[in-house]
Amino acid sequence: MSTLHTVNKSPYERFAFASCLAHIAPGDALLMLEDGVLGARRGGAFAKRFAEAGGAAAVYAIGPDLEARGVKREDVAEGVEIVGYDGFVDLVAHHARVCAWL
């Protein structure tokens, strides 16, 4: 069964996001939370990278974290599904393991 990878650091400040993308397997899921959601902004240098590297993975971002940081729904890159905390719980429940990239 697949892995849910979580990233809570901005890809523009830390290497964690890039390292996560380098270790993600087909069928895995990626969830951006806290400062990690800054990577989800459309037009950002990083949005292109996870579209390529995470191509085999489903990509999610936590809505309240986006909202808190002023990233509007329409600013979120294509292919990123916005989820609430209930969606976070569902993702954890539907994957065999969680790998946090701190």
Binding site: T3, A16, H23, R97
Partner: protein
Amino acid sequence: MADNPKKKFLYVNRKAPYGTIYALESLEVVLIGAAFEQDVALAFLDDGVFQIAEGQNATGIGMKTFAKTYRALGDEVRKLYVERESLSERGLSLEDLMPIVYEDENEDYVQKPSIHLVDRAELARLIGDSDVVLSF
């Protein structure tokens, strides 16, 4: 614990030692996990590879050189996977790491290396093969 099947624990170490408390905390948890007779493996990638670098001495910065404890993990923890790309990106090779070994009880207690170099794709598979991933 006798009724519970062994679980495969993978400790993912990505931070350099001393600058933050992550590395030391990971080691503490690894020692606790080993005491519960689980199937324990450690992964060292990104700056985590510096945790097992040879020649550490933290006395000058007033901290404990806890790296020595990795050499004492001994027979409980004998799977230390180190990512080859992370080493080379940082100008390191296997020779720059501490010689961490265990004694194989099935082969007259001959010493064998606990460190296994793996590439990035193999490390990704290790994550996928684990029951529990603990990140530090």
